[in-house]
């Protein structure tokens, strides 16, 4: 049990617990706020693993942008405030979902743990300079393609908001 193990266990437990609350809470808005805690502590996990830039991007993009978008979508779709059982499926379907999710987690966990087992390993910390050299060297074409993807996403989101239903009684 090294110090890194202890740090990772603490932030990892926080992340798993808040993730559990995010998918089980009855409050719609609380789900988005627990998602903030989950992804924020996941950024802490990235820090323990020596990926500072990824941790900062995670905080900026996920916690800063994605969760705000989710909260906006909840407001626009008139999400109920307070406890509501309307968001969950029936008990039988939830039980089946628990079984499927648990078995998938056990399967993935068994494969990954057998892959990553063994003694404690040294963390290969990549400095930001080395990462930038690779990002704008080896990976520059995928990087440029991503800018195209973001452009397409922006255009698509705009086109979706302009979408009108064919029905004559459009109540907007």
């Amino acid at each position: 049990m090294t110090a890194y193990d202890l740090c990772f266990a603490i932030v990892g437990l926080l992340s798993a617990a808040s993730g559990l609350l995010a998918v089980t809470t009855k409050h719609l808005t609380h789900a988005a706020l627990w998602l903030v805690v989950c992804l924020g502590s996941l950024a802490g996990c990235y820090l323990v693993l020596g990926a500072e830039l990824v941790a900062l991007v995670q905080v900026l993009v996920y916690v800063g942008a994605v969760v705000v978008l989710v909260l906006f979508a909840m407001m626009v779709t008139r999400a109920p405030i307070g406890r509501s059982t309307e968001h969950d499926t029936s008990l039988t379907q939830r039980a089946a979902a628990v079984v499927v999710a648990a078995s998938t987690a056990v399967l993935v966990g068994a494969v990954l743990v057998s892959l990553f087992s063994g003694p404690a390993r040294r963390i290969d910390v990549a400095g930001t300079h080395a990462l930038a050299t690779e990002l704008f060297g080896t990976w520059v074409w995928p990087f440029e393609l991503l800018s195209l993807l973001l452009l397409i996403a922006v255009v698509t989101a705009l086109a979706l908001t302009r979408l009108r239903s064919e029905a004559p009684e459009d109540d907007r």
Binding site: F8, C38, V100, F116, T161
Partner: protein, 120 residues
């Protein structure tokens, strides 16, 4: 020095939680939260692989940055679709069939009354 099975266990737990969220939620926005958890699990796996294995090209970190970007684009488009569905149907309940709408009990304060539709 870190035991690499710890992040691997967290990857499995987060993926399972996300899958449960996708399967057990009816509200489309909450389903998207489950999808986000699954994508986060994939990112943690990439970072872990890059940290504990020899990675001269920094593929783990770079692909995680790409993954975060793709997830942001995905959620923007998905929420646009959710809002378009809300405009067309009046709710975002994924358990209802096409064209079917939820019966709104006007006396229940927890359920906001949707816009007047179809002469209802």
């Amino acid at each position: 020095m870190i035991h690499a099975w710890l992040p691997a266990v967290l990857v499995a737990v987060l993926f399972g939680l996300g899958l449960y969220g996708v399967l057990a939620r009816r509200n489309a926005v909450l389903v998207l939260i489950g999808v986000e958890l699954m994508i986060a699990a994939a990112g943690l796996l990439l970072v872990t692989s890059g940290a504990v294995h020899p990675d001269p090209r920094r593929a783990g970190l770079t692909l995680t940055l790409f993954l975060i970007t793709i997830a942001a684009a995905e959620i923007a488009v998905a929420l646009g679709v959710v809002i378009a569905v809300f405009r067309a149907r009046g709710d975002v309940d994924m358990s209802l069939a096409t064209g079917e709408t939820r019966v709104v009990d006007a006396t229940d304060p927890n359920i906001p009354v949707m816009s007047q539709r179809d002469g209802a």
